[in-house]
Symmetry: C2
Subunit: 411 residues, 2 copies
């Protein structure tokens, strides 16, 4: 039996007419012969309202257990409304809450991890031709209480369900046509990417492209669930979209997308004593405070036994990092620490980039040709990132999108 | 261990400040030493919103199973919000949905009957000093789905819980100070009744006084649960209110209240063949159609072997009743059926009234003194009702309230 999980987000299912559009897409897919389980988020407006209610009742966020009971209600409501929309089309459908579908979690309220899903009854239901509409974002803790899965929780429910049902794919319906080769608001020629590997999508997400939360992609990768990102706003099941699976790179050029993040601050530490001891202390202090550091470059200073350390971090963490590093009690003996808050990061994403020096060359050449100063560089298996002035980010993304041939139509 | 169930309706818990007022009342009661379980309705505005959503998704009301999943969410949300309000006061509290509290029903969606409640864990919780806040109106069907209990369902949850917990009392907090001796908008001297028997409250409810749904009172009577109707709008646990239990009548005068209903239509059947056959056929036809008949009077007609039949019924049923009775296929041979839609019913409520001919006399005398025509009369153990012109109802209620001494202050 071919099984399919279809997930609809809060924008895709925001009101009765949007729910009807979702139902029509589901009906189309069912005609193709698959057993179907659907996962829904709460409608966007309701989530806002419930979050406001919780914020009023629990301003310090202490009582996440009760907050979970409030927030999970939104998905419960929407699942039932979508089941009714499906029945209006003459289909058999029924809704399930997290506890009804046996979505068992570790009980960590507000950020629970899924432990297991009872699929026996559910499999019978969907293989018998009834569409199961499952409330996303929620599960049941070991103490019998409702737990929510945190941000991106409905995607996670969908991926976990697809894995448990051994579904052919997990389709994530959203308000865009797929994962784009660059932000389409910035690059008019940007196109949905046909195929991506999990690693590439994870790298894009970590470099600022907003698609899915990393934890859902990681779960899909671990369980080998094929993901499809599709638009629910085309009135019919879209032909395009982005498919995410293993070995996607074999089928296309190496560079798949340009990502960017404006949320970067650069810290420069001048005259740091050379050698690994001082460097280790710097990052130990930051790590203890839970501050994540991204790009790191150490270069020789003006004197022997001195070096210059440059690293980037999220803007929100910058002031705390500065205070930590200049605090005398840390004995860092840092003569001069400076901070530049107006930085951005631009990244070229693709599998096997580290071994492709040609790619790095193309990147630097392109940025130089546009007079964009490169503040620091980092590479990984799947990306080359450069720290640049925030003011140049649009120009950089457009230029790189063109330089790597992403402007051309692709299959 | 003394246990107490406190129930708050949708008006009493409509918004954050009202929830805080509820929490303060609960805190006061807990200080007195009782183990406390609370039952909440959904906030009034949310119920309206969810009912609108369900009406849009399921205009024909066919899919009550999914409607139940939507509607039950309102109580779930409010229970969690109230638990948080209690915690803000430094109290221990946690919320329970219907399925979490083991409120098992017969599975009849939209109008489920409670079958049993698992009280073991709940008893431990509340006897340990934690306040349990239970979502009213809902339970779990045999198939593991959410079922709602229908109108007045939260009262029913509260009474059932009080019975299962062997609670000392079930306190129903509402927006009035108790059960009044007459509608206070109509009779300015009307007062809350200190004590009532179940039978009297049931009779008042059936005669138009809006307090609690009869099914909740009936359950309380069957399980011998003491009810207290109290206002949640006094800022502190009210001293007054109405207590409903057995043998309440021993402690006060016989007549306790005047009820009325404006929703009455009188049907007169002239020249009905005398004897029980024709009469039986009339009521068989109406009963088959599910039409409830209230007051019935049969009197001799102008000719021997003929009689005049007068009965009253709810206005909404009148046209259907008329069509049924005049339909030739029923062979009722009814020469003349007439309908008077502008009737009202006024009732004197109290235990043991049937044997108190003095009471009936006082009633007729009072109505006559005010030139109010009596269309029909009926008595039961606990009431004397008269059908009167709708235009006279206010005058009748005020006059009877005074005539039966209900204007005086009572303990």
């Amino acid at each position: 039996m071919t099984r399919l999980v279809m997930k609809f987000g809060g924008t895709s299912s925001a009101d009765p007419s949007r729910l009807e559009a979702c139902a029509a897409l589901i009906a189309e897919r069912q005609k193709e012969g698959a057993s179907i389980a659907v996962v829904v988020s709460a409608p966007a407006g309701m989530t806002d309202r419930l979050e406001r209610d919780v914020g009023t009742a629990d301003p310090d966020g202490q009582w996440v257990d009760e907050g979970d009971a409030v927030l999970a209600a939104g998905e419960q409501i929407n699942a039932a409304l979508l089941a009714m929309a499906l029945r209006r089309l003459g289909l058999r459908a029924r809704s399930y809450t997290g506890w009804q579908v046996g979505m068992l979690t570790d009980g960590a309220h507000g950020a629970a991890k899924i432990q297991s899903i009872e699929t026996k009854a559910l499999t019978q239901t969907i293989d018998g031709g009834t569409i199961a509409v499952v409330a996303g974002f929620q599960g049941l803790g070991p103490d019998g209480r409702i737990t929510t899965l945190g941000r991106g929780g409905s995607d996670l429910s969908a991926v976990a369900l697809a894995a448990a049902l051994q579904a052919q794919a997990c389709e994530i319906y959203t308000d865009v046509e797929g994962v784009y080769s660059a932000d389409p608001r910035m690059v008019p020629t940007a196109k949905p990417i046909a195929r991506l590997s999990y690693e590439e999508l994870l790298e894009m997400a970590s470099q600022g492209t907003k698609v899915m939360q990393s934890r859902s992609v990681e779960l899909a990768m671990a369980k080998n669930v094929t993901l499809r990102i599709l638009s629910s706003f085309e009135g019919t099941v879209p032909q395009g979209g982005t498919t995410i699976g293993t070995n996607a790179a074999l089928e296309r050029a190496t560079v798949c997308a340009i990502s960017y993040s404006r949320d970067e601050t650069r810290i420069m530490v001048h005259r740091l004593p050379a050698g690994s001891e001082a460097l280790t202390r710097v990052f130990a202090v930051l790590a203890e405070a839970g501050i994540q550091v991204d790009l790191i470059v150490q270069s020789p200073g003006n004197h022997v036994n001195e070096s210059t350390l440059v690293f980037s971090l999220r803007r929100g963490d910058a002031q705390q990092a500065l205070s930590l590093l200049t605090d005398p009690c840390h004995k860092l003996a840092l003569d001069e620490v400076s901070l530049d808050p107006d930085m951005a990061k631009v990244s070229v994403i693709g599998i096997g980039l580290r071994s492709q020096t040609r790619m790095a060359h193309t990147m630097f050449e392109t940025l130089c040709a546009h007079d964009i100063a490169i503040g620091a560089v980092a590479t990984s298996e799947t990306r080359i990132s450069a720290l640049i002035p925030a003011v140049d980010v649009e120009m950089a993304v457009r230029a790189l999108h063109q330089a790597f041939g992403l402007d051309q139509a692709r299959t």
